[in-house]
């Protein structure tokens, strides 16, 4: 599990320069999918992002020696919990980052609490991490299902998409996504005209799409993820669903999915993300540096979240001059966050990181000026509206 251990150049530089020995040695574990369906949106890119954060923070100059290790959790909660346990017990890891896939994230959440370390999640969606399963040791950085459902759901209804049909993956995560979005739709004055639960994972969605087509809905909400979403969008295009006037709303779609689908198929899709490389000068500058190291691929919001998470963690290490989990957690929640990717923000009591979210619409092939030019910004959802209100989550840390 230590194969990919990377002693950072920063550490080596410190030694060669003969400066004072590092006061604090920190070990960061990036645990994510390196071979599966989320390898493109997290994977090695998240490790690169973590490394960039250490370099940009100039950790070595500040007397903090950072080592980054990484492993593949294959999106399985059992593999994730085994690795996390071993990292904490055996390898001296202080903080785990990323961990896409909700089931794996919840597993790491529990182990981090048990071992009293720090967990900064970027990749997973489940809002339970800062709700019923919230932990004093966890920060949930980038996004969650509540934010996605509200961003996409309310925007679609506001644009006249009042009648919804849900295509839901038949497992806990899909159900949660559907439930959250349906609530938003109803609260905004829309209605849900139908729901179909498809087996997970599925390959052929045509039958379900046909049911959606004949339901008379204006919006088809895709409450699924990964390959299921890609296939349903692809087959929706094939059956002429978007041409027929029905809009597709992806409830969990990443820029890498759009990349895999191609603009021809994905055009017109509305989705919510917390980061896009082409938002402003700072994100463009950082993303350019990132893509140079990542084979030309632009960063996803998950990778951006890993960068920002590491940066904020290191600031807390510097401020507390140590790595005691409780001290660092309270420092991270007390300090406002600031980084080039998400701007200014904060970490809430329940561990929820607060920042703006953005509603995007996927461009048509004609509108796109080049590779990775995929999104048009439709609306900015201000930070105070983007996430579930503190009181509604049912987190026991909120008194």
């Amino acid at each position: 599990m230590k194969i990919r251990t990377m002693m950072l150049a920063a550490l080596a530089a410190t030694m060669m320069a003969g400066t004072a020995l590092a006061d604090t040695a920190v070990k960061i574990g990036v645990l994510n999918d390196r071979s599966g369906i989320y390898a493109d949106l997290a994977g090695e890119g998240s490790v690169i992002a973590a490394r960039m954060a250490v370099e940009d923070f100039k950790a070595a100059d500040k007397g903090i020696a950072v080592e980054i290790i990484s492993a593949d959790h294959q999106n399985k909660p059992d593999v994730a919990s085994t690795i996390a346990r071993q990292w904490y017990d055996q390898d001296g890891v202080d903080v785990i980052l990323d961990v896409p896939t909700s089931s794996a994230a919840l597993a790491v959440n529990e182990i981090t609490r048990e071992k009293n370390k720090v967990f900064i999640n970027s990749g997973a969606g489940t809002a339970d991490l800062t709700g019923s399963k919230c932990s004093p040791n966890t920060v949930h950085w980038t996004y969650d299902t509540w934010a996605l459902a509200h961003g996409t759901g309310s925007a679609m209804v506001a644009n006249g998409g009042k009648k919804w049909f849900f295509l839901t993956a038949d497992y806990a995560f899909g159900h949660a996504l559907e439930r959250d979005t349906a609530e938003v739709v109803k609260a905004a004055g829309g209605e849900v005209v139908g729901t179909v639960r498809h087996p997970f994972p599925g390959t052929d969605f045509s039958s379900f799409l046909l049911q959606a087509q004949s339901s008379g809905a204006q919006v088809i909400g895709l409450a699924n993820a990964g390959g299921d979403t890609i296939n349903s969008i692809k087959q929706a295009a094939e059956f002429g669903i978007t041409q027929g006037g029905q809009a597709l709303a992806g409830l969990l779609v990443f820029i890498t999915d759009v990349h895999a689908l191609g603009l021809q198929t994905a055009q017109g899709l509305v989705l919510t993300e917390s980061f896009y490389w082409d938002l402003n000068d700072q994100t463009r500058e950082w993303s350019k540096r990132f893509s140079e190291q990542n084979g030309g691929k632009m960063p996803t919001m998950v990778q951006a979240g890993v960068y920002a998470g590491v940066l904020h963690y290191l600031k807390a290490v510097e401020a507390t001059a140590g790595k005691d989990a409780a001290a660092i957690m309270s420092k991270m929640k007390e300090m406002p966050t600031e980084d080039p990717l998400f701007g200014k923000g904060s970490v809430r009591q329940d561990g929820r990181k607060i920042h703006d979210m953005y509603l995007f619409k996927v461009k048509t092939p004609d509108q796109s000026k080049g590779p990775w030019d995929y999104y048009d910004l439709v609306a900015t959802i201000p930070a105070d509206k983007a996430f579930r209100p503190l009181a509604d989550g049912g987190c026991e840390l909120v008194k």
Partner: protein, 328 residues
């Protein structure tokens, strides 16, 4: 349609054991294994060793069916996984003590074994393999959708609890010795089954089913019995694993798990007493230390399968047993 096994090894294995129920070299090996098991947690990471133990029991249970019953099941994950789910649920939702939870899980696997087994033994050979696989798929879909299994999340943060309500198992080492005891007893039980008159009849059926029928044995009853035993012990392994990792997840019921246990048995040596233990130790170690190579682990496992089937059908222990001219 029996699985071809290493003939010399089997011929020797049918030697009647001594009055104590165990031949001397087997006694020595069991003692050696126990000693190894007692020392291991002080040298290696205990959770890792517990994983090896659980899979060793799983592979031995599987070997009981394949190596001695001659039946290749491609769906043993169903028993391993369902036991793991029931055990986790019992410990978490009903707050049962670990030993009761494990018993409940094992019982579930036993019942499933009876239901699926009585259907599956209607077919033989390849059909049998595919039928067991299909049943395992049904269990997988059930686990994915049933409300109590938690779908993708599985059942997480299962309490390790107090053994008999007295001994706190939350420390890795305490739990370790409990798991060691469970697994070791399971292995001894399997050993007893193999070397009982029942085991002899099984071997007769495996070698020549028509002859066994003509001798008046009710072949299907024996097949069902060994199927149920194998499923039950696989369930014991799965239930114990749920307590160790405090987690029951879909991985345990997915068909790749069924493939893995075949691999462990094949690699270690099917139809040998100790082979599956060796096979399990190797595969688990490999998965643990090669985890970061991602898909390469799959490729390596595939290569082991191919090489094993082509050149190495006796497995590691089978080869050793040939060298030493002793059944192992």
């Amino acid at each position: 349609m029996a699985v071809e096994t290493s003939d010399p090894g089997i011929a020797l294995a049918t030697d009647t054991p001594s009055a104590a129920g165990m031949s001397r070299q087997h006694l020595l090996i069991f003692a050696g294994l126990l000693a190894l098991g007692l020392v291991a947690p002080f040298v290696l990471y205990p959770v890792f060793v517990m994983k090896v133990l659980c899979f060793a029991l799983f592979a031995c249970a599987f070997n009981l069916l394949l190596g001695y019953g001659g039946l290749l099941s491609f769906g043993h994950a169903a028993y391993f996984g369902s036991a793991s789910y029931v055990c986790a649920h019992a410990a978490k939702a009903w707050n049962l003590t670990p030993e009761l939870s494990i018993l409940l899980g094992t019982g579930t696997a036993c019942i499933l074994g009876i239901v699926f087994g009585s259907l599956a033994i209607r077919r033989q050979g390849i059909y049998f393999a595919m039928v067991t696989l299909a049943f395992a798929q049904m269990v997988f879909f059930f686990s994915l959708q049933a409300p109590f299994t938690g779908g993708e999340d599985g059942i997480q943060s299962v309490p390790r609890g107090r053994l008999l309500g007295l001994i706190d198992l939350s420390a890795d080492l305490t739990l370790y010795f409990f798991v060691l005891a469970v697994v070791f007893l399971g292995l001894l039980l399997i050993y007893r089954i193999i070397h009982s008159p029942f085991g002899q009849v099984l071997k007769a059926i495996r070698e020549n089913e028509p002859r066994a029928v003509s001798l008046g044995y009710r072949v299907n009853r024996y097949k069902l019995a060994v199927f149920v035993m194998s499923a039950t012990l696989a369930g014991l392994a799965g239930a114990t694993k749920a307590i160790v990792f405090q987690l029951a997840s879909l991985t345990d019921v997915y068909w790749t798990m069924s493939g893995e246990v075949v691999l462990m048995t094949l690699l270690g040596g099917m139809g040998t007493v100790f082979g599956p233990i060796v096979g399990a130790a190797i595969i688990v170690t490999m998965q643990n230390y090669l985890a970061t190579f991602g898909a390469w682990v799959t490729v390596i496992q595939g290569c082991i399968f191919v090489v094993g089937v082509l050149l190495f059908r006796e497995g590691i222990v089978g080869v050793l047993s040939k060298w030493f001219k002793k059944p192992l």
